[in-house]
């Protein structure tokens, strides 16, 4: 297999998610949202969004209880740290019932 088909004259990349692979695999801890505590979920309104605002990966959707994209979430824990309602807990990947690698 050769590289001719790419047709590139220079090294020029095109955007795509997961350039570094499924970076969720880097995680040792996963964020778990307790919806009962989440301000936005409880109010069912577009409020707070601190977790979305401060996610360095852009892996949290801007929605009440916005799902966290565990495929790419690197498990840094900023969202848990920043949440004013203490609604996100970091849980060990080893204790987690779901496999990180499943997709």
């Amino acid at each position: 297999m050769n590289t001719r088909d790419c047709g590139h004259i220079i090294s020029a990349s095109s955007p795509a998610k997961g350039e570094a692979g499924k970076t969720g695999e880097w995680r040792t801890q996963r964020p778990v949202l307790n919806e009962a505590k989440c301000l936005a979920v409880r109010a069912n309104k577009d409020i707070c969004f601190q977790c979305w605002a401060f996610c360095p990966e852009g892996a949290i959707e801007r929605k009440p209880g916005g799902p966290i994209d565990l495929t790419y979430c690197k498990g840094c824990g900023i969202c848990a740290q920043i949440c004013p309602a203490d609604a996100i807990q970091m849980e060990s990947e080893y204790d987690s019932p779901e496999s990180t690698k499943s997709e």
Binding site: M1, T3, D5, C6, I9, I10, S11, S14, P15, A16
Partner: protein, 427 residues
């Protein structure tokens, strides 16, 4: 053609066809002026440069054109050569036709940018006004500067006289934009840069026809964003669509192949140029009285023009000698040269530079070219004119005469074969 490209076409070549002060026809100008007029006629859009002797008058002349409103280009007076090339790279990526000029330590200072420009496959044209490399300081001519950058992946073309400078600058854009490689137009400092001689300034309207607008290979397009020159792995890698893309080595292969392919392009464009403007620059190299020659002098730059005189002198003394003037040094026309040098008994190379610890770069390349072709001529390396040391035609003639006689008498010792012979070195 995309809308973006159409826009680009419309925006290129909106300058006056001809500079008011240099209308088509004959003018007596310096080499630096010749280069500047060439850049004007080529419709450069961005000029960035840093002053260095003996290059500065090139960009001074262009600054004049721009400030007088004749040339609607951006002039960026940068704070260093490193930035001069940086600006050229940025502007060329943005889709503009760019020009800069430098020499010697300035060229060395932009060294990493030279690799960046060629690796980005940008058709930048730069005048390199050949000057000696410090230390010690010398502002005078030799070719150590550009020769030291021969492996930077640029096309290097040498000019014999001021006419060739203007013609080569114009051709350089055509070549560069065809093969997507930067071109260094090399001409001797002072000997050409500061010496006036008559040139024929071509008609800008014809140049416009000869030189179609520049279309960048990877346009800046917000609707189709790309990341240019990111970290590239050693091995090929799949993109998001599963297409295998180059590794670092494939990029280098492509770069190298384009340089090799440019051998053909340089010749073709020179022929086309001749059809339009009536002048050929000899393509890759030019020959003078080589047909029946047993001994050949090979050199590059203004020296090669002077050597035509040397050949005439020696011919009158019945030395069967000819001359090969190298125009393209990179890519090196090894195969064509081997054909030209077939059956030549003695080859005398004259370098105005050195690969320290071995011999002159031209000599080294000639020797390897001959080896590839199984030609077993004797090659003698001469080094001359370093740091502006004046070269007289008779000095070269005497050397050539002397070594031709030594060759015939089988008196060429190992000392002569394996070491460079220094012309007019008083040590």
């Amino acid at each position: 053609m995309t809308v973006l490209n159409q826009q680009r076409v419309n925006n290129t070549h909106n300058h006056l066809s001809n500079p008011k002060t240099y209308p088509p026809g004959q003018h007596v100008v310096t080499g630096n002026q010749s280069a500047a007029i060439g850049a004007f006629l080529s419709g450069v859009q961005v000029v960035a440069a840093y002053p260095i002797t003996p290059q500065s008058p090139v960009v001074e002349e262009l600054a004049k054109f721009i400030e007088e409103g004749e040339l609607p280009a951006e002039f960026v007076p940068v704070e260093s050569e490193h930035s001069a090339m940086g600006v050229c790279i940025g502007a060329s990526i943005a889709g503009a036709r760019v020009f800069t000029a430098t020499c010697a330590n300035g060229l060395a200072y932009m060294c990493e940018q030279l690799h960046w420009a060629s690796g980005s496959r940008l058709p930048i044209v730069m005048a390199c006004v050949n000057r000696a490399m410090a230390a010690p300081w010398s502002v005078l001519n030799d070719q150590q500067d550009s020769m030291s950058q021969r492996d930077a992946g640029w096309i290097q073309l040498f000019c014999k006289d001021n006419q060739e400078i203007i013609d080569t600058v114009i051709q350089a854009y055509r070549i560069a934009e065809k093969v997507y490689l930067p071109v260094m137009v090399c001409y001797d400092g002072y000997i050409l840069s500061h010496t006036v001689m008559p040139i024929e300034v071509p008609d800008g309207n014809k140049v416009k026809k000869f030189l179609p607008p520049y279309i960048p290979h990877t346009p800046i397009d917000i609707s189709k964003p790309v990341n240019i020159n990111p970290v590239t792995l050693a091995d090929p890698r799949l993109n998001a669509d599963g297409v295998l893309c180059h590794g670092y080595m494939e990029h280098k292969y492509l770069h190298h192949q384009s340089l090799r392919n440019s051998l053909k392009i340089i010749e073709e464009i020179d022929i086309e140029y001749k059809d339009i403007f009536g002048r050929s620059l000899g393509g890759l190299f030019s020959e003078y009285k080589t047909d029946d020659a047993d001994v050949v002098i090979i050199c590059a730059g203004s020296l090669s023009k002077m050597c035509t005189l040397v050949i005439d002198m020696l011919r009158e003394q019945n030395v069967p000698i000819g001359l090969v003037s190298l125009r393209a040094y990179r890519p090196f026309p090894n195969q064509k040269l081997s054909v030209a040098l077939k059956n030549k008994k003695l080859i005398l190379t004259i370098d105005k530079s050195l690969s320290y610890g071995y011999q002159g770069p031209i000599c080294i390349d000639i020797k390897s070219s001959l080896f590839e072709s199984g030609i077993s001529s004797t090659v003698i390396s001469f080094v001359a004119g370093l740091g502006g040391r004046d070269i007289k035609p008779y000095e070269i003639a005497e050397k050539a005469y002397d070594y031709w006689n030594k060759f015939n008498k089988k008196e060429l010792t190992n000392e002569i074969i394996y070491e460079s012979q220094w012309i007019n070195c008083k040590y």
